[in-house]
């Protein structure tokens, strides 16, 4: 396994994609999407943010070119984050009392 060198062309391409996604998310926030589906504005914003994060992790952080072992470690981190978010939110969501 030799080191993979990511070319500046790929870095510039990723940067351009990130810029386009940033412009998209700012634009999407100014449009009322909630009238079509409640909470759609937040969903769109978070999906775009996640796309940006994945691009940064895969290419700027070289995860795409890393070994299976490193990929497993990265995946496990997000897996534990998902456990923390899912279990805590389901706990809050299923309680009868209100926080107000």
């Amino acid at each position: 396994m030799s080191e993979h060198i990511v070319s500046p062309k790929i870095y510039l391409g990723i940067f351009a994609a990130l810029m386009i996604l940033t412009a998209t998310t700012v634009y999407a926030a100014t449009v009322d999407l909630n009238e079509h589906f409640p909470g759609l504005n937040v969903i769109v914003a978070l999906v775009i943010a996640t796309c940006k994060a994945i691009l940064v992790i895969l290419f700027f952080m070289h995860a795409y070119y890393s070994s299976k072992r490193t990929k497993l470690i990265i995946f496990s981190g997000f897996f534990w984050l998902a456990i923390m978010l899912a279990l805590t939110l389901s706990d809050y969501g299923s309680r009868t009392w209100d926080l107000h």
């Binding site: 990511v6 940067f15 998310t25 009322d32 978070l46 290419f59 952080m61 072992r69 496990s76 981190g77």
Partner: protein, 246 residues
């Protein structure tokens, strides 16, 4: 420690050494993911509970500064990635140049954050004894807002009071939003300041010609850290600035 050239004694090959460094850095970053994850979780629950006041409070933050800072920070990730590439292909001068560019962009980000914090200070939006969401509407001219913006804010505050039950609740809930805003952006800025310190160290080492295609672990690992801080901002920006802008 025993060291042969670029290879430390406990490793068999340079590749194994690099793989270990990357793995170790990611292990640290996982603790950071869970650290910020807890803050995002707290934010989600509070935003869900106090949705109306949170979206109003969010709209008092200037969108333009946040958007500019997103571009600046992603730009600094690009220059950071380019300095890793320069080290990998042995362009020693370029490593230094890209590191300096990254440091400059990081400093610009912190400067803009400072302007934003100052705006919030002027508007009495910093949680504490003098926190007052009604400061700008009660003192026209004290805040950097036009008459129309102030009139708009007055109407929205009235509507909010009816929804949540009075000005005391508006102030209490919006203080929660700004506590999370300053807590999260403050911790993010602290990470940037630490990153700037690391960049300064890398610049000095790089000017000494320390980073080569065979050994550039510090550039690579500080790069991973810098990109991670970028990812945190990628989530902070829509969550804090882009709630209900329509």
């Amino acid at each position: 420690m025993h060291r042969t050239g670029d290879l430390y004694g406990q490793f068999e090959t340079l590749e194994q050494q690099k793989e270990s460094a990357t793995l170790g850095m990611w292990t640290f970053l996982i603790t950071e993911i869970l650290f910020f994850g807890g803050l995002f979780l707290t934010y989600t629950i509070n935003r869900h509970t106090y949705a109306d006041v949170f979206s109003f409070s969010s709209r008092t933050i200037k969108l333009s500064w946040g958007a500019i800072n997103t571009v600046v920070l992603i730009g600094s990730s690009l220059t950071m990635a380019m300095s890793v590439w320069s080290a990998q292909v042995g362009k020693k001068k370029l490593v230094t140049i890209f590191l300096i560019l990254t440091l400059i962009l990081g400093t610009v980000f912190l400067g803009i954050k400072g302007i934003e914090y100052h705006d919030k200070y002027v508007e009495h939006h910093i949680p504490g004894a003098s926190f007052d969401m009604y400061f700008c509407t009660n003192n026209p001219g004290a805040c950097n807002l036009t008459t129309e913006e102030l009139a708009q804010e007055r109407t929205e505050l009235k509507e909010l009071e009816d929804k949540v039950g009075g000005p005391v609740a508006v102030n209490a809930h919006s203080q929660l939003f700004f506590s999370l805003y300053f807590g999260m952006t403050g911790l993010h800025a602290l990470h940037m300041i630490i990153g700037a310190g690391l960049l300064l160290w890398l610049i000095v080492e790089s000017m000494r010609g320390r980073f080569s295609p065979r050994w550039n672990t510090p550039v690579e690992n500080v790069g991973l850290y810098w990109h991670f801080v970028d990812i945190v901002w990628i989530y902070l920006f829509p969550l804090l600035y882009l709630i209900d802008r329509h």
